[in-house]
Symmetry: C2
Subunit: 364 residues, 2 copies
């Protein structure tokens, strides 16, 4: 048989997609129970439901097909019940998890979207989502890159790295920068952006393989496997005989303790996350915060949500440029299929993932 002409090929591919009005099966990841301690796959369940691909006439709702789900450590903090409201709502047992994802519009009642549009948005951990009031989303302006990059280097982790390093920690050329969880989604971008900015960059990670990745793939100046160091303080002194100007904090606990002892005067700590702490009932470590006084240190937390709008747009163009020039590369760990999502999320806390953890629910 002769090859189909290009248009027909596109049509044939499209025809494998469900159509507007169709009832589709919809596998969803729900939280089974509030989590105490380390989350397990049994804390979640993949259930099968259905969804009709329609929006109410006159509504501004959309139905999206979720392609790539982002797995992020902060999701753990949403799996416990909080007495005080946290910065994001807790997940609810029996209900679907949600987080940032790359999705494709299937049906739209919204003037800004049409079927086939690709979006980066907050959506459910499910195959299809009905979003009645799409508010938090952004367009994908560089579809020439793998779409999954919009859950990582071109998405929220990328903006997080950029904002934390430059807006919060105000890293400058020639400074000594330390990044923990350095091969992860945010850490790998922090390190590479700091190198582009002319800093001396050291990262810590949890395996020799990851340490090797930091040195050979991401161009860090030095790196160490924190699980093999008997004395984190000594490891930092070895890597930073002059001390640390900027610490991009992803882990908390014993590492933060050791870092505080090794900060230089007027150093800055951008607190992005504290993954070592999320599974604890009570924080561990005993950071010597009096170090802040003697060295005039600044320690500042931030949320990427404060860096939207124009900041995000400028970031996307800048990062797309770096990717094209090869100044920044991305390493992703892609789990296939929504059934793999619970294990992918749980794996973040044992460091199973190599690079940004994504779940590919569908490829297009």
């Amino acid at each position: 048989m002769a090859a189909l002409p290009p248009d027909a090929a596109v049509e044939a591919a499209a025809s494998s997609e469900p159509e507007e009005g169709e009832l589709v099966t919809n596998r969803r990841v729900i939280l089974k129970r509030y989590v105490t301690g380390c989350p397990t796959e049994e804390d979640m369940e993949v259930v099968v439901g259905t969804l009709r691909l329609v929006v109410l006439p006159g509504s501004a709702a959309i139905v999206v097909k979720n392609l790539y789900l982002s797995c992020d450590p902060y999701m753990r903090t949403r799996m416990s019940r909080h007495d005080q409201p946290s910065f994001v709502p807790d997940f609810v047992p029996g209900e679907v998890l949600d987080n940032w994802a790359v999705s494709k519009v299937m049906v739209s009642g919204h003037p800004d979207f049409k079927p086939g549009d690709l979006l980066c948005l907050l959506t459910g951990w499910e195959e299809y989502s009905l979003i009645t009031n799409p508010k938090v989303y952004h367009k994908i302006n560089h579809p020439e890159f793998p779409l999954s990059y919009y859950t990582g280097v071109l998405g929220v982790p990328g903006i997080t790295a950029h904002a934390g390093l430059f807006e919060v920690a105000k890293a400058k050329k020639g400074e000594y920068v330390f990044v923990s969880a350095a091969s992860g989604a945010v850490g790998q971008i922090v390190g590479q952006l700091a190198k582009v900015a002319g800093c001396y960059v050291v990262g810590s990670a949890g395996s020799d393989h990851k340490v090797n990745l930091l040195m050979t793939k991401f161009g860090f100046d030095d790196a160490f496997n924190y699980k093999k160091e008997l004395d984190l303080d000594a490891a930092l002194k070895r890597c930073f005989p002059e001390g640390i100007d900027v610490y991009f904090e992803n882990v908390g606990g014993a590492m933060l303790e050791a870092v505080l002892r090794n900060m230089r005067p007027y150093g800055r700590i951008a607190v992005c996350g504290q993954v070592s702490q999320y599974n604890l009932q009570r924080p561990d470590g005993a950071p010597d915060l009096f170090q802040l006084v003697g060295k005039r240190l600044r320690m500042e937390g931030f949320l990427v949500g404060d860096y939207g709008g124009e900041y995000r747009q400028r970031f996307e163009e800048k990062m797309a440029g770096y990717l094209k020039e090869g100044k920044v590369v991305s390493v992703e760990d892609i789990a296939e299929g929504i059934e793999a999502a619970p294990a992918a999320l749980v794996g973040l806390f044992s460091g199973r993932n190599i690079g940004k953890q994504v779940v590919a629910v569908a490829r297009e």
Copy 2:
């Protein structure tokens, strides 16, 4: 006998002073041994020496008579040996302690000083000091106030309060401000300056008497005795139902833990000191620093030494104005005589002092 004419009276008073070239007895407070845990009077010793009131011809040295010694909690940090250099040199066993004081020039080889000049400077805990190279000092521009004020409200504690509140924490009108160790040298000024700036101000202190002082003398909006609160978190929630915008941190430990839980989004913590921690081998408390992330908090340490020169001069004029207008008052706890100095210093750690602790070695 007829009364002496005024000039002769002055001369008579002056003649009770030792003269240039004279050998005077000089009682000095030395550190006997490095301190572990809570300092005691036995860690220090008052020894008697002599000093000849001369400076080498051609030298720029001065000899001062020390009038008022400042007792400050940070001095405890200098009484232990540090492996890493701290922001101030450790005291040395067998040698005299030193700190800020108000002193009078007796003999001067320095072109900027003449006998009788009053100075605020770093000097030994002794009756007379030979200072070979006076560098860190400032003049006393408002001798109309009690001279001891230059160890407190008009001196280093005052500048500390002002810089921490306005330059570091950037307190603004209408904000909720919390101060710990609020009746102390720095805390009492922080609270009063925050009131002048239009903030809502709450302080904690360690006795009902001090709490009463905060409310009646310093004009705090609310105050509590932390030793009587079973639950610091509940105490802060009672005083700050809307949360805290600015925390002026003087104590660390359990109070800081509770404060972090009660900070409002975008809150600032100026870290001035952590008196509850100085006697510990290892920091206590388990502050939940992940709070920094969700609430975008900034926690910043500072040293008053960074606020010298013009800043200090502007501060002195501003504070002199407040004192004259009655907008700020000072409460001091004056121990008499150099023999009382060790007990006065030790008393800071049990909260024995009511207000700024000063040692009056001599009145003029």
